[in-house]
């Protein structure tokens, strides 16, 4: 297996990940009674799980990077560390500029609000100002293709409409770093193609992209660089097609 390339800090660095480790505590007991009984029987009360261990890399401005790995490899954890949802137990994560995640789109949607209200709420959650949302509102609606239903409550939307709207809001946020987690399963094929085209457009405009997806061929084409993670460690860092080949060889 090829050696992982050493991270090199340059002036164009956008995301710096240095010696990052993340450990999760798995509690086996859920109440005082259970803890007490487990202690008497000398059973384990908790165990730890090393999700990431000594991860190092630097992503430069305008780079598009695919995080690759099988389920449970730690790639989503890594994405959450970059977005700030989690904090590293060891090492540090540094980012420059505005970060927005297309992480499980629709998390901030409220079913009882209309599409219009949800656009404002979600765009604000993703860090946009009122002025920015006003400016982009029409574009967001047009991209989602649900103009007709924009004033309908979101709970009446079909799941495809819901995802399209959520994705459309997220992709139109003003960002420097865009984190994409498994969203390219959104909608039907024409809409997927549109999403990929939009992501390419953002990348061409100099945005930094970090993508997690199980559609290996698609991410290999979309991204120029691939970082392969196995059991919480970086095992390959290089050209994306080679990274996918390395992953398939495992």
């Amino acid at each position: 297996m090829p050696k992982t390339s050493d991270p090199v800090l340059t002036d164009r660095a956008s995301i710096i990940v240095r010696g990052v480790g993340k450990r999760f505590l798995l509690r086996h007991t859920h109440s005082l009674k259970e803890t007490f009984i487990a202690a008497i029987r000398r059973k384990k009360i908790a165990s730890t799980f090393e999700a990431l261990d000594g991860v190092d890399f630097v992503i430069n401005e305008g780079e598009s990077v695919a995080l690759l790995g099988f389920n449970g490899s730690g790639k989503s954890t890594l994405l959450k560390l970059i977005s700030g949802v989690y904090r590293p137990d060891r090492g540090e994560v540094l980012t420059r500029g505005r970060v927005a995640g297309l992480i499980e789109v629709g998390a901030g949607f409220h079913p009882d609000l209309s599409g219009r209200e949800n656009i404002y709420l979600n765009a604000a959650i993703l860090g946009m100002t009122q002025k920015e949302i006003d400016e982009r509102f029409d574009e967001i609606v047009a991209f989602s293709e649900i103009e007709q239903f924009i004033d309908t409550e979101v709970k009446h939307y079909s799941s495809g409409m819901f995802l399209r709207l959520a994705f459309s809001v997220a992709i139109h946020t003003e960002v420097d770093i865009l984190l994409v987690d498994e969203i390219l399963s959104v909608g039907d094929e024409p809409f997927q193609r549109k999403c990929v085209a939009k992501i390419r457009e953002l990348s061409a405009a100099g945005k930094t992209l970090v993508v997690v997806s199980h559609d290996l061929n698609m991410v290999a084409d979309l991204c120029e660089r691939g970082i392969l993670i196995t059991k919480g460690k970086v095992v390959f860092d290089g050209e994306s097609h080679e990274a996918v080949a390395a992953m398939r060889a495992q």
Partner: protein
Amino acid sequence: MTELVSRPDLREFTRPGRGAGLIDVFRRRYLLTLLVRKEVQVRYRGSALGWLWSYVKPVTQFLVFFLALGVFLRLNGSIENYPIYLFSGLITINLFSEAFSNATKSLVDNAALIKKIYLPRELFPVASTLVAFVNFLPQALVLLVVCLFVGWRPTVFDILAILLGMAIIVCFAIGLGMLFGSVNVSFRDAQNFVELIILVATWVSPVLYQWTMVRDILPDWMLVLYQLNPMTAAVELFHAGFWHPTTEGAVDLPPNLAYYGLAAFGLAALTLLIGQFVFRKLEPRFAQDL
């Protein structure tokens, strides 16, 4: 380790997930208003009476207490304008109860969001408290109308007393909400404990009875403790603002109420600081424990 070639200026970088706490809530006030508006809009959605419930609930609560305490226990005879006395105290304690209880649950209620997107998490308890404040306004309006009807002509000091009372409650509720809310993430015992505190709070402030009844029984030092409770001060400030101007002035307000009011505000601010401190200590674990 790695050799660093031409170090970039690290000052431009931020550590994701570390905010400035309550200051960030102020910076993202547009989002805060949207969160509050959402809660207010959604609150009575799907109910036929809608916002009427905001009037029905406190009025029913008032009638029950008035019947039991005012009529059966005859407080109506011994306390002048007892209905106004009772209602001004009740809405004060209602504001506190709702704000505190909502703020405590706010993090668990917004788990889906906290686990997926980074936001200044203080937004949630603050938004919940503001929602409670919005629900308090119709009740305050009812009180205001009744007071005007019986000849309420407030002075500037009366208005200041009411505003100070509201400031104490909002500060105190946000502080306690952040404290118990952040503990509630890992130990849901917190929200049950908060319900207990709220139950007790109604009775350890002079909402249903008068402070003079406490004075006649408790030794002086305990009376001081009783009055140092920020909620006692807030309730008495509401009495001073709404109820006292409508009476003949036969019954005195507690002495040094202004000082106790300011002390209460100080204590509420201290609670806010402690709440923020504990919140920040526990925050790194929110996303993984929820």
